[in-house]
Amino acid sequence: MRHVLIFIFLLACPTHSITAQDVDNSEVERFQLAESLLQAGQFDRAIPMLKELLASSPGTHVFYERLRQAYEEVKRYDEAIALVEDQMSRASSPEVFLVEKGRLQFLAGMETNARATWDSVLARQPASPSVYLMVYRSLLQVRLFDIAIEVLEKGRRKIGNADLFQTDLAQLYALTSRLDKAVEEYLGLLEGNPGQLSFVKSRLGPYMTDSSSIQSAVPPVESAVARDPLNRSYRELLSMLYVELERYEDAYQVVQAIDRLEKEEGAMLFSFAQTAADGGAWNVAVNAFEEVLRRYPSSPASPDALRGLGVMQEMWATELDERMKPDSSRIHYSAALATYERFMIDYPQHTHVPDVLTRMGRLQQDVLGDLESAERILSEVTARYPGTRAADEAAFSLGKLAIMTDRLTDARIRFTRLVTRLRTGDLADASRLELAQLHFYQGQFDAAVALAEAMQENSFSDVSNDAIGLKVLINESKGPDSLNTALRRFARAELERRQRNTDHAVMTLNFLIDEFGDHPIIDNARFLRAGLLADLGQTDDAMQAYLEIPLIHPMSFFGDRSLFQAAVLARDHVGDPDRAIELFERLLTDYPRSLLTSDARMAIRVLRGEQV
């Protein structure tokens, strides 16, 4: 049936002057047999049959086509070429056969002849676009991209139309790693049809693999923008290239222009600002966010931009580790807070309000230490927006705030309510851990262990791991008296640390160490004390405290950690790299199985000035 359809198709084809009478039934049967032989790879048997068929019906194109294919399959290129020439001699317009002949000559290794043949096709009809396309497709088949480019470019010149073959040439240039030329072609396409931008972007995407090729594509697009500043697609393409090259400042200028010219009311700028923030181009992102706010204060993009600016300032602060810096140096955290405050003034009814308020409360609590303001803000969220995720997060933060201000009963109530209401999820688990820790701080160790045990199911989560740590600490540190006095003192010191009462925590630990020098919890206590001394800026005391631990408790879990922390202090605060190397090496020698060995090795190499 398929072959009958082929014949019908061929009959309908005006270029082939055959008629239905040319093919009789016996020929169809023989042709089908030849086809079967071809499919079975029996070319030697198929070829004579096809030759006979073609001889008896020389005008039947499909006989010719199959015979040529068969010759090609067995690499009998000379016979294939002769066949094509024979067909050509019968045809009124031989271009298609000449093109085929050129390809066969190339496959036969006669490259010069092939080029001459292709050239001769072009010379026959130098003003016909379809002839250039025929030759180009033939060249594409044998992957002669550079010559294909020459052919199409020649066609343009001869025909006098610079817009011809744009997408074909663009693809060829991209394939040959000439992205600048490819972009020039696509610009031509966009000139007539800016709606093709998505197509152009998708075509260029796979070839934008290295910065040098992307860079090469920039100048033509810049020129196009200068030439036709009102063509939005040019500008969008240019901004895409700039972003790929991480030239955010340049991209910003382009996006500014688009937003202004196209009356986007800040939507384009806002989207770009987020892209720049994700790329860590903080200053550019700030400018873009602020421009939205300045130019379009009443547009829908404005509240998003204001909130986005605050979130971005928090991200920037995190990258700079501002939490570890003095208050005066927490510039971006302060900026984030100011931005959120502005949001509350400008958009007090916006849907972002609960989220913004929660962020403000957390900043006040965790970073700026203004617990009173934090409590006021977070309470407002829980009161005004009950049942929202923001309200739950605010309630959790309020529980932590109650611990910090020594209102443990209040904290317990808040966490219990959260656990009861949420039951599952990250916030519920975190609340359970807080409850376990509250029991621990208050000396209710059995209750703390019971809660911690209930949370051990998912050991991949940080919360579960913290719960396991708490359980192990309690189980290994009970006694010597029935009141577990040593553990109570340690729990008290932990609570004081959490409440930022560092001096008191150190005093509590000093008492503990003096009174229970042989207790299993003492190495924990010494390690905690050393860390607190470091927090207080007492570096020498902290170093000494760390170095005592492996001497007094050589088998302790904290031995390697203490050496590591002492080495870090020597490196970062004392400025003594030799001492740091000595301590890192001591860690490697004394604790060869420590989990910190790879970090210590890396630190030694960096300190030795090696390229790591």
Binding site: E72, V74, K75, G109, S177, P592, R601
Partner: protein, 422 residues
């Protein structure tokens, strides 16, 4: 190569071991070692500083003995390689024990750090290379070379050459399904340009010429180590040199109708009487590879292969190549995983095989003055490495027996006294 084997044999049996210094360091390679892979890097590092190292074959997993110094100890600590300090008398006792006629152990002196070349393109391809990972993790220096350098005759500068997931048949790894991806397009384009620059009309012709250059390098005394499809495609390309076995999907013209009868197995190193696969869409080059294990065994928990044990005193080469702290190694799959036994040439030494199956995992042979080692599979610590997956983090596999086999190979040339290229 015969000269090399003779020399190593003599050095093993007759040479007087290094006189024990006042104190020596034993780097144990049994289960007590904290980082088996970095240990090879330490040996290389020591050889670079003209410290002679004795490789104690079959002694505690193939341990190393070297003179002690503060610098060496510091480096061992920094790299996390465990060691034992031996007094002069203890070191002498150890050497005597290793050289005892009663034990299947021996000593090979390592003298010179081999110059290592890795055959790989500059282009970043979306899969990892186990040898590059091993060399990088062990901190063993290497240089990258590719077709242009090989054809320019640069191989003579190196003692050891590595091939990995390469396709010497010029079919771009038969990644036909990926032909529209940027990396495939770039790979094909780069290969075509390289072929043209080198005067070849087609990529398969250039790859065959590269394979022949590499074969000549081995013949002149080079050490060739290949993994995954770098093994079988190498021999396929040699056998098919001069005939077209590449389907039109890859080189734009059909295979030679007489391709099968034109194959010349006398040109190959390890395999014979194999049959290339001409289907462009089948992700397999020939029947040399027996493919992954049968479905019931295609499971990292049950798939493994076993190393053969050789006489350390009389078969030092295969003994060196199979040093390990375990005799059974977990399997791993690659484009080429296991070599079908029936197509392996009779003069090739089988180093490891999959038990109960007629499949070889690891083999070694000689050609001219040099030697070749083929190791099936892609990544010893990633059972089935897929395109685009993250490379394996070897710091999580410091004791990998599969990776140890790779690193045994780089020390093998260090045992050679000097280049014996004719």
């Amino acid at each position: 190569m015969r000269a090399l084997v003779t020399w190593i044999t003599l050095s093993v049996v007759l040479s007087v071991p290094r006189i024990a210094s006042s104190q020596d360091l034993l780097v144990p390679m049994d289960n007590s070692q904290t980082d088996h892979l970095k240990a090879y890097g330490i040996v290389y590092w020591a050889l670079e500083r003209t410290v002679e190292v004795d490789w104690l074959l079959n002694y505690r997993g193939g341990s190393f003995l070297m003179p002690s110094s503060g610098e060496v100890i510091s480096e061992l600590r920094v790299r996390g390689v465990s060691y034992e300090s031996l007094s002069a008398s203890a070191a002498a006792r150890t050497m005597a024990e290793v050289q005892s006629e009663d034990a299947n152990t021996s000593v090979v002196r390592l003298e010179k750090p081999p110059e290592i070349a890795v055959y790989a393109p500059d282009q970043t391809l979306p899969w990892d290379d186990a040898v590059l990972l091993a060399l990088t993790y062990a901190e063993v220096p290497y240089e990258m070379i590719y077709d242009e350098e090989v054809l320019a005759g640069d191989l003579g500068r190196y003692d050891w050459l590595h091939l990995h997931h390469e396709d010497f048949t010029g079919q771009y790894g038969k990644f036909f399904n990926y032909r529209s991806t940027a990396w495939y397009i770039e790979q094909q384009r780069e290969a075509e340009l390289a072929a043209r620059r080198a005067g070849f009309r087609k990529v398969p012709d250039m790859k065959a010429a590269v394979a022949e250059e590499i074969k000549a390098y081995v013949g002149e005394g080079g050490f060739l180590f290949a993994m995954c499809s770098g093994t079988d495609t190498f021999d396929i390309a040699l056998a098919a040199s001069g005939t077209d076995i590449v389907p039109a999907e890859y080189d734009n013209d059909p295979i030679d109708p007489d391709a099968l009868s034109n194959l010349d197995f006398s040109k190959t190193l390890a395999f014979e009487n194999f049959r290339p696969i001409f289907n462009a869409r089948e992700y397999e080059h020939s029947n040399i590879d027996s493919g992954p294990p049968p479905p019931q065994l295609r499971n990292p928990a049950v798939d493994y292969f076993t190393l053969f044990e050789f006489s350390a005193k009389y078969d030092p080469v295969p003994t060196m190549l199979t040093q390990n702290h375990v005799a059974t190694i977990k399997g791993f799959i690659g484009q080429t995983t296991n070599f079908r036994k029936s197509v392996i040439k009779p003069n090739v030494v089988i180093l490891a095989e999959a038990p109960g199956r007629d499949e070889v995992r690891y083999l070694n042979g000689t050609y001219g003055q040099g030697t070749f080692t083929f190791y099936g599979g892609h990544d010893p610590e990633d059972y089935q490495h897929f395109v685009g997956e993250e490379p394996t983090d070897l710091s999580l596999h410091k004791h990998s027996p599969g990776y140890r086999l790779i690193l045994n190979n780089i020390l093998f040339p260090a045992a050679k006294k000097k280049k014996q290229k004719t």
